[in-house]
Structure formats: structure tokens, C-alpha cells
Symmetry: C2
Subunit: 142 residues, 2 copies
């Protein structure tokens, strides 16, 4: 490889990634994982990912895309983001960060991990602990 490669995983890397997650590197999983992890952070819906896969000539069903997204999520490769509406969004960046949601385009954009700070959090009710804090900054056109 001559070109600088940053967060890019290809071929064998993808297979290793899947094996580590105890998922057989099947043709479909490799294809989907390549789309997801092959080129930086992404935010996808099942339908979007399916459309992309089909467009690159991959034979994969929507049901398999759903199954695969949930498998990846369970394996910690993806995080699911609650936006409302009824579409589920998945984020390839599983580190702690938050999101802009562009209402007009129904699109998510990362907010760098450490820029937002949430203060003044009250104690959770008894016997409960914080699992995760979601901050979604909703944007509309001016």
C-alpha cells in the first residue's frame, strides 16, 4: 500500500474483525462490514445499507441486513441511536460521543467526542444506574 491509509480496513482485516466477534465471515457479512467499516465513521439505516450493498452488486436481502446489523450491535461493532420516527440508526463509532440530527435530511452527524459536557445530573432513582446518556442536538434550516 502506497497511499496513507487511516481508519480503513479491507479484505483480510474485515475477516479478522468478524472472527474476533465470533461471526463467520460470510460473503454478505464481509460485504456489509466493508461498507460499514471500510471508510471512516458512518451512520446508516438498514434500508440505506441494503440499497448500498445492492448497488455494489451484492446479493443480500433486507432481512439479512437487519439481522447483521443486530449481530454487529451485539458484538459491540455498532451502536444504535434513538432518533424517533420509526427508523433505527446505527453508528459505526461506538465511542462516547453525541450527534447532530439534521431534521430536514433525516441525517446524523457526529459531534466530536469530548466537546459536549453534561453537568448537573441528578442521582438516578434507587437501584438504578446510568447505562448511557444520549444527547441529540436537533437542527433545522435557518
Amino acid at each position: 500500500m502506497q497511499r496513507p491509509v487511516e481508519h480503513k480496513a479491507v479484505g483480510a482485516d474485515i475477516s479478522r474483525l468478524l472472527r474476533r466477534a465470533r461471526l463467520r465471515p460470510t460473503r454478505q457479512r464481509v460485504a456489509l462490514a466493508s461498507l460499514l467499516f471500510g471508510n471512516g465513521d458512518r451512520h446508516v439505516t438498514a434500508e440505506l445499507l441494503h440499497a448500498e450493498a445492492v448497488q455494489t452488486g451484492e446479493r443480500v436481502s433486507l432481512a439479512t441486513v437487519y439481522n447483521t446489523l443486530h449481530q454487529f450491535k451485539r458484538a459491540g461493532l455498532l451502536r444504535e441511536i434513538a432518533i424517533g420516527g420509526q427508523r433505527a440508526y446505527f453508528d459505526t463509532n461506538t465511542s462516547n460521543h453525541n450527534h447532530f440530527f439534521l431534521e430536514d435530511e433525516a441525517r446524523l452527524v457526529d459531534i466530536p467526542g469530548d466537546s459536549i459536557r453534561v453537568d448537573g445530573l441528578p442521582e438516578p432513582p434507587q437501584n438504578l444506574k446510568i447505562s448511557h446518556i444520549d444527547v441529540v442536538v436537533r437542527l433545522v434550516s435557518k
Copy 2:
């Protein structure tokens, strides 16, 4: 009713509320509004509200509950909260505040309006402005 009434709006109050929102105070709307606004802040799903209405002997269809919730939302009487999953939650407290979400019970709990502060918000991308910031603190049992 003989008992002391606090933040309770009844009968004529509900009608006035609806009229102000330019919604005819029909039997169903009055019934739903009473359940929603008759006794402090609430977080409801369409199905929950429908079940309550039916339980109090009100004849109202689920479709009308959905329609009514959206009318109330458009009128600014309710706010919709994005939790994920595919259920839509509506909050009768439309002021600026945030939520605990109890994952185990799929239930929302208010976090008092001014306790949480979000700092370090980056500038929104050009031509966009912040419409609203949602903070959801997800809780699981210890």
C-alpha cells in the same frame, strides 16, 4: 367531586384549553385532554392513553387517540420524545427539561428542568440552527 383539586383542570377549563388551541372540545378530545392534563405531568404512549380512556368507559378509537395526540402536539400542548424502539412517547410537560428512561420498564421520568446543563456545544453547520436538544439518560437496574 369533593376532594381538593390542585393542578387539576376540569370541565370548563379543559374546554377553554382546547378552544384556545382552536380545537373543538368534542367528547373524545375533552376525555383525552382530561386524562393528559387533569393531574400533573405525564408521559404517555398512544396505546397507554387509549387503554386508560377505554377503562374509564370512554368510547374512543386508537386511531382517534393518535390523531388527537398529533393535534395536541401541533397545538403545542404536548411534546414528542424520541426514545427509539418504535413507540412514540408524548410528554405533557412542554417546558425545557430532560428525561430518565428506565429501560427495564420502558418508562420515562422527568429530570427537573434546570438541573442539567449542556456545555461545549460546537457551532451547528452553516445555515442550520438548533431547534432543540434532547438529553436522555438511560437507566438499567444495578
